[in-house]
Point group: C2
Chain length 376, copies 2
Amino acid sequence: MNKHRLMSPGPTPVPEKVLLRMADTMIHHRTPQFQAVLKDVNIKIKKVFQTENPVLIFASSGSGAMETSVVNLLSKGDKALVIRGGKFGERFSEICKVYGVETVDYDVTWGESADIETLEKLLKDNPGIKVVYSTLCETSTGVVNNIEAIAKIVADTKAVLVVDAISGLTADELKTDEWGVDVTICGSQKGLMLPPGLAFLSISPKAQKLVEASDLPKYYFDLKAALKSYKKDDTPWTPAVSLIMGLNLVLDMMLKEGMGNIIKRHARLADLTRSAVKAMGLEIFAKTPSNAVTSVKVPEGVDGSALVKKMRDEQGITVAGGQGNFKGKIFRIAHLGYMDVYDTISAISGIEIVLKELGYNVKLGSGVAKIETLLT
Amino acid sequence: MNKHRLMSPGPTPVPEKVLLRMADTMIHHRTPQFQAVLKDVNIKIKKVFQTENPVLIFASSGSGAMETSVVNLLSKGDKALVIRGGKFGERFSEICKVYGVETVDYDVTWGESADIETLEKLLKDNPGIKVVYSTLCETSTGVVNNIEAIAKIVADTKAVLVVDAISGLTADELKTDEWGVDVTICGSQKGLMLPPGLAFLSISPKAQKLVEASDLPKYYFDLKAALKSYKKDDTPWTPAVSLIMGLNLVLDMMLKEGMGNIIKRHARLADLTRSAVKAMGLEIFAKTPSNAVTSVKVPEGVDGSALVKKMRDEQGITVAGGQGNFKGKIFRIAHLGYMDVYDTISAISGIEIVLKELGYNVKLGSGVAKIETLLT
């Protein structure tokens, strides 16, 4: 018997009491009873997004909210700048392309974060940019971008800033309003500790003006309709009721722990993991590592896909492999959501065992010992 | 204390064991473990849709699948015929309009079903129609359309037939393949006895050819991507894992009961309800009533909105009011999904009590007595 231990950057483990809350009797969504829940959720979620702006909720995966941020802010022939340092940055370009939006693609080497001077130059060279897209944590590489600095540069232009914080929110600091982020996007199955099925998008007044002007076609992801319903604590389409009931409880848990403490917890787990991994003789892949997920280079001679597979199928611990060109070359351990020190220790222990089995000369217990040392 | 009794045409009650299945430990979606579940689901759901074609699953509400059927089957400037006899028929026209698709709107009087000869004439007069949209059960009126006859007419043309069976599937007979329905759309929170958050779309080879040709923009709802992933029992975007775990169990329950028996159960509950309502001196609104939901005319002198409100807030029984022009003029009692005879009796009993309170001269117990008589 192996328990299932989710140590991937989404889906993440769901707290048992949240699972049970979602198992409560189904209620109808067009009732004062559900609208009271939504009203409560709408107030509390602003604190998690660190914004006073509306945070809209969709029944979709995070990619749906990414599409929402393209089809509602832009018009045909508009130009957007996309910071692409991994699979999820690239997704914004793909969506723009589908809708006839021209993109200036700033391709950052995978494993590195966006360079602020380069971004500044790109914005100067392309004065017509309407929207800048960035990821907070680029899940595919484990890199966190310096959104505060990016936002400062974007603030000097007419463009709005959209941040994909799907895996980063609650792990890496993101002061949406204070830093001047216009749109923050998130998904339910990451730091928000819920099953997948909800996507979130906060929107500033500046970005709402673009919504008014946008001529791209949309229906399900229409922000005008969503904003109109939002004012009445309602949704244009049937919401994912059970997930929203769970969200209400998750938000209570988060506000009780406190956003500052949550980010500190993630930072601590990330730091312990990086220290452990280095103690095992391994190398961190991300130059500016996120608190959401630690990407580790697979050591030479070791089959990276076998590592992930053995971890999952033999140890019951789901870590993530690499994506794109880094398939088999990196693996990723999450610190995201409902995770604590002993989850991290279990993951490190499992990796020690599996690396040994795969012929890598690791000193058993070296990573775990490092964590214990740092904890005492 | 009043229990919450959902007697609305979606969301419908979720069986307790399904609620608990969805509360099981979260697993990752890109694993052989989840793919085995999806493979199982993909096979079983075909029997519910009565098709051999792929049934694709989206993390969205039913409206998302309706949009999917527009943006993937049509191209800009194409012409579609939309049978509109209520709010949900009209939605197809709204979506087409957003995407620059011309529609021939066949406006059926609310409460009536589509007339086959009129449809035949419309198709003859408009030879360029590429897609015909119909609802199975028009939830807003409680009318069931004669899809078998509609499909026969459409089969004589080059058009494909899309049926919104969101509330009708499992309640009203729908032989997708046998009748020649190209696309059947459904949502999770109706006859499928799940919380809202999943949408479904089955697609015939003929309709898949239109997908190849369509030039309308789409990303999240892209059927090419969905069909490609489907072949590997995968999804392009993160699926709503917990809902799909519940779906797997729901499908087992449904196949055990048998599709024929399920439809018979719905027909019986609908019949009992109609008889009870008539025994109370009320009139059925739909001329060709669906087995999913019974729409009843609010008797003169009674406030229809107060009826729905009192039922919900005082009796704990959620029935639906009217929509559009029929707000306050009709109310709707569902027979959909996880409902049995005593749910129906409770709803009828509640209506007797509330009608009496609202000053309507109902003989208390008359509706319930009628049901009991029919059951003995």
